[in-house]
Amino acid sequence: MRQYRASGRAFDNRSANWVTCFFRATRYRPVSERRQGNKEAPAYHLILEGILILWIIRLLFSKTYKLHETYKLTEKEKEDLIEEWQPEPLVPPVSKDHPSLSYDVVTGPPSHKITINGKECINFASFNFLGLLDNERVKQKALASLKKYGVGTCGPRGFYGTFDVHLELESRLAKFMKTEEAIIYSYGFATIASAIPAYSKRGDIIFVDEAACFSIQKGLQASRSFIKYFKHNNMEDLERLLNEQELEDQKNPRKARVTRKFILVEGLYINTADICPLPELVKMKYKYKVRIFLEESMSFGVLGEHGRGVTEHFGVNIDDIDLISANMENAVASIGGFCCGRSFVIDHQRLSGQGYCFSASLPPMLAAAAIEALNIMEEDPDIFTILRDKSQHIYNALQGIPGLKLVGVQFSPALHLQLERSSGSRDSDMQLLRTIVDYCLERRVALTLARYLEKEERFLPSPSIRVVVTIQQTEEDVQKAVSCIREAAAALLI
């Protein structure tokens, strides 16, 4: 293919040579000689020069010759291309034995006693930490609200979708967390995923823990910011990245003045069941002037004396955290999520949080259920101690199962059991763990595999069985579950 890239005038090779010849001929003669030469020049020379000048003029004024015009497809060619094009199928076929294809069916409430595929089991799988899911008080409040407002809100918050219950829940959450303001979303997943892009824009920098959950990853993607992952809970690695960035900033202070920087961590990590080193992060925050966003879906209503989460657990001043987000679908056992912090931060989301502005608001009965759950949590902070003790107990009981290792910290209510030695492939590991889960289901202990989108996760966690602690599980239940897992592991893994 010919490689004339320039779009302007294309010179013919031959004429280009002539022109250089012409210049070469004139260049080396001294001025005086040239003048003389002009006088004495033979006629053919003058004619030649004349022709050359005319040629140049012609080239200058000739019609622009666009090369890509030759590439322009004719209608016929286009039609052929359209005829020929065959798209891929909309979705690739899913094999019948895909592990996520057939879901277990739960009939009745997914509470402490749960009926899976027709079998009543003890629930070690739902994140119903405080057992509020089938709490009678919560139900009654939800019903009262249903009888007043109906189910749906029929609109986003801006357009007659703000109910007095929403305002009450927001102020109650703010009061519970001891922050200035709270904002509620109608879907837990959308909370942090909307909050991140409300603040962090293109060109900003976010430092994220590698173990961050999927909704954080989606928020990062939506923000289009520059993402820097640090090794899970590794403060040296974070500091290294922050130092690198500081050097970068010193080189270009003008850019640094407008580049926002954030650290994004989870309180209790859903993927690893361990806790973030918050006091060190806060130190880092002031040293490097980076804001901290904390996702507390697993720790809100779990950690701390009053269930306020990881800030209370470490005794960190909650004002030092720029934004805390959590969902109300785990400990609170309702639906939705919230963000809280100072008004300066939170209020911004009311116009720029996409999941807040453009989505229908939370059904009032679900907000009412969340308020009642907060009431219970405030009235009886002992439940957090009970949960902690239970978690500790199950953590101890699950130690030393041959072939399986327990992942997580001892006060986490959502632990992971991973294979000690991988069998080689992820699929067969999943298969193996699924057999253990099935074995337990058979014996009326409900467990579940932790599910991930394998191709979409930034750092795919190892396959694991989730073990969820709730305050309703009795000593007997725990023993039964542990012995089931032990038996299954002994039968399958040794």
Binding site: K139, L146, V151, Y160, T162, A190, F214, I335, P363, A446
Partner: protein, 531 residues
């Protein structure tokens, strides 16, 4: 003269090149209008924004020198030297324009969002920076704002009773994802019902309408795929398209020439730079556009999609339940085969008076989503009473409860829509959109009239939605009415009377279109014959 007529015929044929084959696609006339903004109004509107901006700067100056009290929340003292969390000028609009008329949005309500609602009365003593609730209730405001198309937002009746039962049986939460331990029988029942309602093989439900779009489009397309998106698509579709990593090209609103050109060019040229053929092309459109009141030109889109082998993603957030003789959305409205739409998406928030969304289509598609949808694996599944509300309302719409209550609602909505739109047009205000769309935008144009209209209507006990920039183009601020089957003729008349009064007061009767007198149609025909 003969010659003249011949030319006229030829001219009209050229002007509507596609007319011969497109008009045959529609079974009834497709009447949609967007009256042009009068020039004087446009100029005055820009002037209005100019004045507001000048005063905004003046106020900011006064605030800066503490001559005027500043209510804006401040950064924490220790963090003053951090990079600002948001740029000050980003908030110029919020601080100086939005704040003046903020009382028109987020009005708290304390009742069912039905045909009439009760509002919590609030006052502001500092020009809308903060609100106080007086403790009083503004009773029986006619609700022209909620998307309660079929009137299923109700706290009594079959839906509410069934939802009560579901709450008693299941509780409200689920505390797990579909894929792990949150797949309830009631949700599976709902999925089968949705598939049957739409006449498709299979369906899947999700807990939030917004997330249905933003978390499923990325599962369907990826790098090397092309998304052709209408310029007025909802934020959730835009977000989903962006998260998918596909190339996105935007076509003019409901403009089939623009779409066809993009399709032809895309297939002929392939991917940018490498010129590899696209893996797949997905056309993303909505059924009813909620800000324009327009209905998608689905028959033409289906024809284009078939011709160019593209896939079609149809978001029926506003149209499901609200359009079509059986309430089955825009496909039903045009009398098309639902199988021609590859991905049918919709929400339960509006016509069903619940929350959440669905995707329906072929079995393969749904099986794929069950394994690859972000929502199925990571998000908590739908609350049981919400699912029950949808099941009951959908059963009623389908007439499977053994009554004609559903059919009555659909008919009443359609009658109300026609009546309300006709009356507004006769009044001389400019309204946008399709004659059959229950979303009725009415043009206000000027920023000052946004606030004035919302407040004046509320004084007359009518709750309306007003919208301005950035939800609309800067000079096209508008009010929006959502007609519902729950509205009685009397309520509509009250709302129309109020609109008439406020229209006179604020000089909103901009329409320069001649009123369609009965004789006019005949005259038009006459003049054509003379020609």
């Amino acid at each position: 003269q003969k010659d003249n007529r011949h030319q006229h015929v030829r001219f009209s044929r050229e002007a509507n090149q596609n007319a011969p084959h497109t008009s045959s696609l529609y079974k009834k006339p497709f009447a949609e209008s967007f009256e042009e903004t009068p020039l004087l109004v446009a100029v005055l509107t820009y002037m209005g924004y100019g004045i507001l901006t000048v005063f905004g700067y003046l106020r900011d100056f006064l605030r800066h020198w503490s001559i005027q009290t500043c209510h804006v929340a401040r950064e924490k003292e220790e963090q003053k030297d951090f990079v600002p969390l948001y740029q000050d000028f980003e908030n110029f609009y919020t601080r100086n324009l939005y704040m003046r008329i903020r009382d028109n949005w987020n009005r708290p309500i304390c009742s069912v969002p039905g045909a009439k609602m009760n509002l919590v009365e609030r006052v502001s003593r500092d020009y809308n920076w903060t609100f106080e609730h007086t403790g009083r209730v503004v009773k029986d405001v006619i609700n022209m704002g909620s998307y309660n198309y079929l009137g299923f937002a109700d706290n009594t009746g079959a839906c509410a009773d069934a939802a009560v039962e579901a709450t008693e049986k299941y509780g409200v939460g689920v505390a797990s994802s579909r894929c792990e331990m949150g797949n309830l029988d009631i949700q599976e029942k709902l999925e089968q019902l949705v598939a049957r309602f739409l006449g498709l093989e299979s369906s899947m439900i999700f807990g939030m309408g917004f997330a249905t779009n933003s978390m499923n489009i990325p599962a369907l397309t990826g790098k090397g795929c092309l998304i052709l998106s209408d310029e007025l698509n909802h934020a959730s579709l835009v977000l989903g398209a962006r998260l998918s990593g596909s190339t996105i090209r935007v076509f003019k609103h409901n403009n089939m020439q623009s779409l066809e050109k993009l399709l032809r060019d895309a297939i002929a040229h392939g991917q940018p730079r490498t010129h590899r053929p696209w893996k797949k092309i997905l056309i993303v459109v909505e059924g009813i556009y909620s800000m324009e009141g327009s209905i998608v030109r689905l028959p033409e889109i289906v024809a284009l999609k078939k011709r160019y082998k593209a896939y079609l993603y149809l978001d029926e957030a506003h149209s499901i339940g609200a359009l079509g003789p059986n309430g089955r959305g825009v496909v039903d409205y045009f009398g098309l085969d639902p199988k021609d739409v590859d991905i049918m998406m919709g929400t339960f928030t509006k016509s069903f008076g619940a929350a959440g969304g669905y995707i329906a289509g072929k079995k393969d598609l749904i099986n794929f989503l069950r394994c690859h949808s972000h929502s199925a694996l990571y998000a908590t599944s739908m609350s049981p009473p919400v699912a029950q509300q949808i099941i009951t309302s959908m059963t009623i719409i389908m007439g499977e409860d053994g009554t004609t209550l559903g059919a009555d609602r659909i008919r009443r909505l359609s009658e109300n829509t026609t009546y309300f739109r006709r009356k507004l047009r006769e009044m001389g205000v400019v309204i946008y959109g399709n004659d059959d769309s229950p979303v009725v935008p009415m043009m206000l144009y000027m920023p000052a009239k946004i606030g004035a209209f919302g407040r004046e209507m509320l004084k007359r006990n009518i709750g309306t939605v007003v919208v301005g920039f950035p939800a609309t183009p800067i000079i096209e601020s508008r009010a929006r009415f959502c007609v519902s089957a729950a509205h009685t003729r009397e309520m509509l008349d009250t709302a129309l009377k109020a609109t008439d009064e406020v229209g006179d007061l604020l000089q909103l009767k901009y329409s320069r279109r001649e009123q369609p007198l009965p004789s006019l149609g005949w005259m038009a025909k006459e003049s054509l014959l003379q020609d």
